[in-house]
């Protein structure tokens, strides 16, 4: 097996709480846990390096760069990631790399979705896999989301480990029946007899004038379903790590990618690594305010952070990554330090991830707050087509700067 990457800089340490230690879990040794034999080290990814120069998209990319790009992180941990030579790739390639490594490792891992095979995936995440692994392992399905998602679930019950791709996350609304009733619930209603190790993935979020139906944030709709986990990737580094972790997990995991982030470039380690599905990522340590975000909004936040730093603020930015369940440890530690919380999300105001996070923080860390929790979300409107209107539906860096200034008054 490939060696496990364990390079961590001074800023983070593998505390026992974050290290998956099979001994620690003796207390809840249910049937599922007792079979755990792997002991790969899980990387506490603090300050993954973000490459500001995302490129390769062309003309439109320039717009993307000004609007959504990350700043270079100046945390020590970034140096650790750069200490080994690594290789540079785009986010969709990182996803593909993770997927391919897992398919190589376990013959039961298969992919199903529309245009994943011969076409290579509408965002090229599965390009080259069908010629290599065959039409059955990389299955081109007809346009029947509800049914092929259910088919993936049935296959998972019988021992396979399918990755079900929604060409756009919004299409998975058609599969809601299967995702809610079967994916989330079957392990429970069968009394633990059948596990559903599926990964449901696809791009979502507000893109570049894609129109209302192609710009949906399904994390807010799925978050109530019991029995599923949801993670959102935002960098090539965490995309690959989360993809691998999701595939290896015995739980059904929904991996949210973002349409605008597929062409982000980053240097990732050559060694094999798997990230922890339940952990958040410390993007930028700070003292004054905790900014919680995920997916594309991470880049808006980091852009705002540049401005804030110039103005003398020191924001702590955390990419929560795990949308369900929340990593209340990382979040809590941060709140205990800064006492101010700003949540920046792309979900809509009503019932989004931010709303749940606000409630969770209020419940657990109320005593540590010096100010009310501020949550910046998208407007409760269907995403308009017009570029100007679309810009105003999502949170932009100036709004983030203003919110922090208000919060830190």
């Amino acid at each position: 097996m490939a060696s496990i990457f364990q390079g961590i800089g001074a800023a983070t340490s593998l505390s026992s709480s974050t290290l998956f230690d099979s001994k620690k879990l003796q207390l809840c040794s249910r049937r599922s846990l007792s079979e755990r034999k792997t002991s790969f080290v899980v990387v506490r990814a603090a300050g993954a390096k973000m490459d500001g120069g995302s490129s390769g998209i062309g003309g439109r990319a320039d717009q993307l760069v000004t609007n959504a790009v990350a700043t270079k992180a100046d945390t020590p941990a970034a140096a650790a990631a750069a200490s080994k030579p690594g290789h540079e790739l785009l986010l969709f390639e990182a996803l593909r790399e993770g997927l391919e490594e897992e398919m190589e490792r376990d013959a039961r891992v298969c992919v199903m979705g529309e245009d994943v095979g011969h076409y290579g995936g509408s965002y090229k995440v599965t390009k080259g896999l069908a010629p290599k692994y065959g039409d059955l392992r990389v299955l081109d399905t007809p346009i029947a989301e509800n049914s092929f998602t259910g088919m993936g679930i049935g296959a998972a019950m019988m021992g396979l480990r399918p990755i079900i791709e929604g060409m756009n996350m919004g299409f998975l609304l058609l599969a809601f029946n299967q995702i809610s009733n079967n994916c989330g619930m079957l392990h429970y209603t069968s009394g633990g007899q059948f596990k559903i190790p599926v990964v449901i993935r696809g791009p979502g979020g507000v893109g570049r004038q894609l129109g209302a139906e192609h710009s949906q944030r399904l994390e807010s709709y799925f978050q109530s379903i019991p029995g599923i986990q949801m993670v959102a990737c935002s960098t090539p580094y965490n995309a690959k790590g989360l993809m691998k972790a999701a595939i290896r997990s015995d739980n059904p995991v929904i991996l949210f990618e973002h349409v605008l982030l597929y062409n982000l470039k980053e240097t990732i380690p050559d060694e094999e690594y798997v990230l922890n599905l339940e952990e958040a990522e410390m993007v930028r340590p700070g003292e004054h305010v905790t900014i919680l975000t995920y997916s594309r909004m991470r880049y808006h936040v980091m852009q705002a952070a540049k401005t804030l730093v110039n103005k003398g603020y020191d924001p702590e930015v955390i990419d929560i990554r795990s949308l369900k369940p929340f990593d209340l440890h990382t979040i809590g530690n941060s709140i205990k330090k800064t006492h101010r919380v700003l949540i920046v999300e792309e979900c809509m105001r009503t019932g989004g991830i931010g709303a749940s996070l606000t409630a969770a923080i209020s419940e657990n860390f109320h005593d540590y707050l010096d100010a009310p929790i501020v949550c910046l979300s998208s407007q409760d409107v269907p995403t308009p087509y017009a570029g100007t209107l679309e810009e105003w539906t999502v949170v932009q860096p100036p709004q983030i700067v203003a919110a922090v200034e208000q919060l830190c008054r």
Partner: protein, 430 residues
């Protein structure tokens, strides 16, 4: 103005019935199958007939056969005495168990929605008794008897209905969610149609094991049972397409009992002959008398054989009837007791089969009585077992939500929630 009159929709068929007399097609391998047994006056829809035949010819798929309306007497060659008694015992188990369920429900031992299978035993026994343990069965909410036929012990099913921890799903599923990983019963689904894709996935796995994982002898088939109401649902059609496209080893068994709660099949379906929908997707569609276990078994044998040989899926429409209401909460007022119910009661599958066994000398009265007595004892013992079993304790609440309980996440104290001692007590905050 003129345009509005140009296209007239076809007049709706009269409620009484509407089945056109289909023409004979090429001889079929499905020997037991028959044409409609319900009284019919012809309602000429020749264009649909030609369409379905030509599409069948084009695909060279076997269209539904047509034999004359008279029931052919089943031959003894279909069953050995041992098999016959096994089938009889299974049907009796199904009937006695369901009757006991009704009793227990009205005595307050089980709650919620309970859907009983009385009258449809021939379909379950006819199909499932031909399966191996590794074959899979997927059902709907009317799943008790499918689970029993597949081999799940009666006491496990009864316990599950009572909501006890010794139930096949630890009391967490209930009447509509019977699962067994040991006997490959993949549920038990409350929403109609949602089990069909799961069945398609199980069939896909069988093909995957054979072709990708190179388990050359893997010829496991999957049976998907569902009703006439489901045959109008999108998931049904989507799965017919995928199963035929990839030649999956699955048999779609429609238990057409004519009623979806209070909705008559004829009022809900533009073309009530469900078997016809098979050839439209490139698979054989077969109609069979679902009250005759021998005919069902004959058709099942061929369909399962097809699937095992890798020839692809089959759609089988079993004409059957449920003697009780849709569920125990259904007052069952819309079905006319005088005509329809009485007619089907006269064709009780168990009575028919018993008569056949005795007439063809496969068994005698005494042997059959012994079986009936044995089953009564089995079911009574199941009730006693269920009664004596404990209800789930609080500690069971949070188990089984996730296969990997780390899915509950990391709590504020930095430990995984599942490590909290209160987790095993069922009182942890998750």
């Amino acid at each position: 103005m003129g345009l509005a009159r140009a296209i007239q929709p076809l007049p709706l068929p009269p409620l009484a019935d509407s089945r056109p007399k289909p023409t004979a097609t090429a001889s079929s391998l499905f020997l037991g199958s028959t044409r409609t047994l319900r009284p019919s006056n012809t309602f000429a829809r020749t264009h649909t007939r030609t369409r379905s035949i030509s599409s069948a010819q084009r695909r060279s798929a076997v269209a539904a056969n047509v034999s004359d309306v008279k029931l052919k007497p089943a031959t003894n060659l279909l069953l050995t005495k041992e098999e016959a008694l096994e089938v009889y015992e299974d049907m009796i188990l199904g009937r006695v168990f369901e009757d006991m369920c009704a009793q227990m429900y009205y005595r307050g031992k089980m709650f919620g929605f309970v859907h009983l299978y009385n009258g449809q035993e021939a379909v379950s026994s006819g199909f499932i008794k031909l399966l191996k343990k590794e074959d899979s069965v997927v059902s709907t909410y009317r799943d008790h008897v499918h689970a029993l036929s597949k081999g799940v012990p009666a006491r496990a099913v009864m316990s599950e209905l009572f909501g006890k921890t010794t139930g096949c799903c630890r009391g967490q599923g209930g009447s509509m969610h019977m699962f067994s990983s040991e006997y490959n019963v993949l549920g038990g689904f409350a929403f109609i149609g949602e089990g069909i894709p799961v069945a398609t996935g199980a069939a896909f796995t069988s093909k995957y094991k054979r072709e990708v994982l190179k388990e050359a002898d893997c010829d496991h088939v999957t049976l998907a049972f569902f009703g006439d109401g489901t045959a109008n649902n999108g998931q049904f059609f989507e799965c017919l397409n995928m199963a035929a496209l990839w030649k999956l080893p699955i048999i779609f068994v429609v238990e057409n009992n004519l009623w979806a709660i209070g909705m008559s099949h004829l009022r809900a379906t533009s073309d009530p002959e469900i078997w016809k929908k098979g050839p439209a997707f490139g698979m054989p569609g077969v109609h069979v008398d679902g009250m005759d276990v021998l005919k069902v078994r004959e058709v099942a044998q061929e369909a399962i054989g097809r699937a095992r040989r890798g020839e692809g899926p089959t759609l089988v429409e079993c004409e059957t009837y449920r003697f009780r209401g849709h569920s125990l909460a259904d007052p069952d007022e819309l079905r006319d007791p005088g005509d329809e119910k009485a007619r089907y009661a006269a064709r009780d599958p168990i009575t028919q089969f018993k008569k056949h066994l005795i007439e063809s000398k496969l068994a005698n009265e005494a042997e059959l009585k012994a079986i009936e007595k044995k089953i009564e004892e089995v079911v009574e013992e199941a009730v006693e077992f269920a009664d004596a079993s404990p209800a789930p304790s609080r500690s069971q609440l949070l188990e089984n939500v996730f296969a990997d309980p780390r899915g509950f996440g990391i709590g504020p104290d930095g430990r995984y929630r599942c490590e909290d001692p209160k987790f095993t007590e069922g009182t942890a905050q998750v």
